[in-house]
């Protein structure tokens, strides 16, 4: 199955800057792994996978901006599942986020 990770609903934030992806396309994240760090106007947001998945496509690279709720990347259960054209209909990957 194909999933997307979107910018989590951080309170009082309109948009974030992507700081750093913790793996390249093809990397397998386990549940609990840090996937990406995002920067708000105040703090850093750590987004951790709550289920395993392969990183397949980065939609917002490090240094780029994205709004709350919009997609950052596409992941999949299996490394070779074919990707859809648009990320609109994808389910969200289960994640946990914390603000430091």
């Amino acid at each position: 199955m194909i999933y997307k990770i979107s910018v989590p609903p951080v309170a009082e934030v309109e948009e974030i800057r992507v700081l750093e992806w913790q793996g390249a396309v093809g990397h397998r994240f386990n549940a609990g792994d840090l996937v990406v760090e995002l920067e708000t106007h105040k703090a850093i947001v750590e987004v951790r996978a709550a289920q395993p998945g392969y990183l397949r496509q980065i939609l917002s690279a490090a240094g780029e901006w994205q709004e709350i709720g919009l997609p950052l990347a596409i992941l999949s259960d299996e490394v070779d599942e074919s990707l859809p054209d648009s990320s609109e209909t994808l389910s969200d990957l289960a994640v946990e986020f914390s603000i430091t």
């Binding site: 009082e12 934030v13 309109e14 948009e15 800057r17 708000t40 106007h41 105040k42 901006w65």
Partner: protein, 343 residues
């Protein structure tokens, strides 16, 4: 074939724009120091001084006790004696404590000494309501506009936060630099090249033909949202970001109202003796009577209660309603608008 001639930019947070301006200026001008609460290791209440403590050290980026009267007094006195201080007053509500040294000494120093001394100090302060209650929400910049000897600026974008701060560091007298709590979450383009935004120059944010909306600080965003909604009502609003409250750019404002024939002023502060009162008076002194409307906070303290705060502050809806009423008056050739009543 058209080409994009606008300069290369970087998209950064509002706070990063302030830090960038301060850093550039502090590298060039050793006399610049920063005084305030939590400006040092903490990097500023909004992280607007991030990195400066690490680069310039504790003597140039100095934490002071909570003592706004003497913070401003020290800043003004140090400026008179050769430094270029930036005094950071975290909440504009507490700038009132510093009014004596700022207004009675700083703003009058050049005049009262017959030109022997001046005080090139920047007092940076954050205005606006964001859930923090009656004594931590005020926008009182209008109170300062009429002080001879004092300049007042209010950026609404990261680019102007950067450019106006650089301009302020070039002034020879005191400048109050007013930012806003609700501007800090915003990111926007800032020229990569060193760029100064001149004090005394407004910016037309949206060209239009039916009415002029003037605003400053966070309310510029509300004005632009209202303008979008007014499009749907067939009303084409011109939105002017004042940027500089003292001196006001009356040339830009008057030219706009000459074109549109009506003016709506929008501020988060009080309308009584507010920024809009001054703008409208001066417009009429220049071009004669025009229909006008002034929008500001309700005449009440702004509670931290989210329901009451939202009711107090100008909303996009109120601006749209007022603009539509203004258009109707304009169409009937009526040159005054009865003050809005809030239900």
């Amino acid at each position: 074939m058209s080409s994009d001639t606008s300069p290369p930019v970087e998209k950064i947070f509002f706070r990063e724009a302030i830090a960038r301006a301060a850093r550039e200026e502090m590298r060039k001008t050793p006399e610049i120091i920063i005084l305030g609460q939590d400006v040092g290791y903490f990097g500023g209440s909004y992280r607007e001084f991030d990195g400066l403590f690490e680069e310039f050290g504790a003597t140039r980026v100095r934490d002071t006790p909570v003592a706004e009267a003497s913070m401003v007094g020290f800043g003004v006195g140090a400026a008179a004696a050769g430094l270029r201080p930036l005094v950071c007053i975290t909440y504009m509500d507490f700038l009132m404590l510093g009014f004596d040294p700022l207004i009675n000494y700083g703003a009058k120093l050049r005049f009262k000494t017959g030109g022997q001394l001046t005080a090139p100090v920047i007092v940076k302060t954050t205005a606006g309501a964001k859930g923090q209650g009656v004594a931590h929400s005020q926008c009182i910049e209008a109170w300062l506009m009429g002080v001879p000897g004092l300049k007042v600026v209010a950026p609404a974008t990261p680019a102007d936060a950067y450019g106006l701060l650089k301009a302020a560091f070039r002034e020879t007298g005191p400048v109050v630099y007013v930012d806003h709590k609700r501007l800090f979450p915003i990111a926007g383009p800032v020229p990569l090249a060193e760029t100064i935004v001149p004090i005394g120059k407004a910016a037309v944010r949206r060209a239009g033909t039916d009415l002029t909306i003037t605003s400053h600080s966070f309310m510029v965003r509300t004005a632009l949202e209202a303008a979008k909604m007014l499009e749907g009502e067939g009303i084409d609003a011109e939105v002017i970001d004042l940027r500089s409250l003292a001196p006001l750019d009356m040339a830009t404002i008057s030219e706009s109202v000459r074109k549109t024939g009506a003016i709506l002023t929008l501020e988060e502060g009080q309308v009584t003796a507010g920024v809009g009162a001054e703008v409208v008076s001066r417009v009429m002194e220049t071009i004669g009577a025009v229909p006008f409307s002034r929008i500001g906070a309700l005449p009440a303290p702004v509670s931290s209660n989210p329901i009451l705060e939202a009711a107090c502050l100008p909303s996009t809806g109120r601006v749209v309603q007022a603009a539509m009423a203004l258009q109707r008056k304009k169409a009937r050739g009526v040159n005054h608008v009865v003050a809005e009543t809030i239900e």
